[in-house]
Subunit: 343 residues, 2 copies
């Protein structure tokens, strides 16, 4: 369907445009020597490629720029995964310090990723669906206040302080904590509230004198919204890209990127492996002129997190894809080592 030469032309145009962000003209291409045909020949192919929807013009006598369909074809057929010894070296460098803390390493990865690409990186922590409660503690801080701490088997810690009207009865508190731990340890985080309601409320009512007044607080602790953690790196790096030379674009980008929920939803639905969404392929309005590359990483058996890069549709797909797939592999490995003895 596409001749050899047309493929070549398409490829060169996209490469060129990715590099320069300027429309690519036939004459300039021919002169640059990366293709041994005359401007006229290239022009013919360009016209064909435009008819087929792979290229576009910004105005009637401009050079060509890739269409989204063009990028899609490019990503699907024209890029060979880069051998990425260099990437791996960089990534190993992040990892080698020894994982002191999962969150730290993720944060750092996000920053490096963005630094390396000048796009904005987003990392989603693992979904909590399979995470289980390891331990629950409630420490009294004073007569009326206490802090509840919730630890999962992945080492994730959540805490919440609260204040109660009456005095805290220390022996009651101990009883409550014991019962809670007894019944809730090993229960998946997302089922905590359900189990609490079904199995524990009744139990506590029998054992604790004035349980009614405390139920509300306990419930708040247990059912705390457990959003997936979102790490974003280099929000301002993306401003280096020429497509963000427009103040309005910056505004809408930032008001999107600051809404973590939206971002989490954006990424949550991604399936395994590398995913590429170009421009309007994205369902979220605010990034319909950006591209999103996602990769997943494994944590334990069933848990999964997502790494992503958000940049202009004119993105260095080759580099980004290889970088993300390296990183996701390394991350999975490091986390495997870290958690393998947990089960």
């Amino acid at each position: 369907m596409l001749t050899e030469r047309q493929l070549l032309v398409l490829q060169i145009i996209i490469d060129d445009f990715i590099e320069t962000a300027h429309p690519v003209g036939s004459r300039a291409l021919s002169k640059k020597g990366s293709i041994p045909y005359s401007a006229a020949t290239i022009r013919n192919d360009m016209a064909d490629l435009e008819d087929m929807g792979f290229l576009e013009k910004t105005h009637s006598s401009s050079g060509r720029i890739p269409s989204e369909k063009g990028y899609r074809y490019y990503v699907d057929h024209l890029i060979a995964p880069l051998s990425s010894e260099q990437n791996i070296r960089i990534i190993r460098n992040i990892m080698k310090e020894g994982i002191y803390e999962f969150e730290q390493i993720v944060q750092m990865s996000a920053e490096v990723l963005s630094e390396l690409t000048n796009y904005t990186s987003i990392i989603l922590g693992p979904e909590l669906s399979e995470t289980k409660l390891k331990q629950l503690e409630i420490l009294p801080l004073s007569t009326h206040t206490a802090v509840a701490i919730l630890v999962t088997d992945t080492g994730h810690v959540e805490h919440r302080s609260f204040t109660v009207p009456g005095k805290i009865d220390l022996s009651d508190l101990e009883k409550v904590v014991n019962i809670l731990n007894d019944r809730l340890k090993g229960v998946p985080i997302i089922r905590l509230e359900e189990v609490f309601q079904k199995e524990i409320v009744g139990l506590l009512k029998r054992y604790i004198d004035d349980f009614g007044s405390s139920q509300h607080y306990l419930q708040a602790i247990i059912s705390q919204s457990n959003p997936v953690k979102v790490y974003i790196g280099g929000k301002s790096n993306i401003l280096m890209q020429p497509e963000f030379n427009d103040v309005d674009k910056i505004r809408s980008f930032y008001s999107m990127i600051e809404n973590e929920n939206e971002i989490a939803n954006l990424l949550k639905s991604k399936k395994d492996g590398i995913g590429v969404s170009i421009g309007n392929e994205n369902k979220v309005e605010a990034i319909k002129d950006l591209s999103l590359i996602t990769a997943t990483y494994q944590l334990g058996k069933d848990q999964m997190g997502t790494i992503a890069l958000l940049g202009p549709t004119r993105m260095e797909y080759k580099k980004v894809i290889s970088l993300l797939s390296s990183l996701s592999k390394e991350l999975s490995e490091a986390l495997y080592k870290w958690y393998k003895t947990s089960e």
Copy 2:
């Protein structure tokens, strides 16, 4: 030194410029009716005010805009603190939900503050100098990994996971945790490391068989850098201001605002009460054309945090100052109630 009329002119010009962001001309002022003098008279006063350095021109035949000296005078002499029933109502609304968590309330305050003003708000958590250790826990997650949790008397929780090469000996761990709690409870956070070195290392060496190999990990837990928490609200709200219509300005603003350390340093040195730094009065290069209004709030006896708003020098000083002072008062009160029983 300044005539009544000159004061009036200065005041009106600044008010007008704050509102519109456009240079103010004599004719327009006179016509608007807010001052009962002719354009010529106003012009004379304007010229005098310019000679004295309170006003500036953007070019030889433009209207006047306030100079930094002008803003300074305005802030120091021309604004009467707004009676802020409305502010207080808004703020009370934030507070009344009941403080479930200090951090949550601070975060929320920051956002509301920014929403109300369209500037960027910054809140510094309390300095930890006077905060004391309430409890230290180390929970094993698996044979090689554990998570350490550190709770302060203010209900602040820090945690850190780590992995050790050898197996974790549970009875040793218990001993260690007991010794640590025994010796470190009530010790100010900033002195933790010192006390650990002086009093505990020796002790542990005697009690624990293979203490040498674990010392490193314990140390890491205890001496974790305890930076002051920074909450920033409405990073993108400030883009609404017309002075941010320039992409380069946005770039430099964002690369500053994303460096939390720099911001923490910027605010840490502020003394009690309300502080106003206008333009070049700021020592940090990146905000030399912005104004920073700070207020402090109290937490307990000696601890102090800072609330700030960062906006263009053309800032609604009146509104911002009253808003900040109301909020700092409310925050201090709320925190007082919250922590009063702690000691």
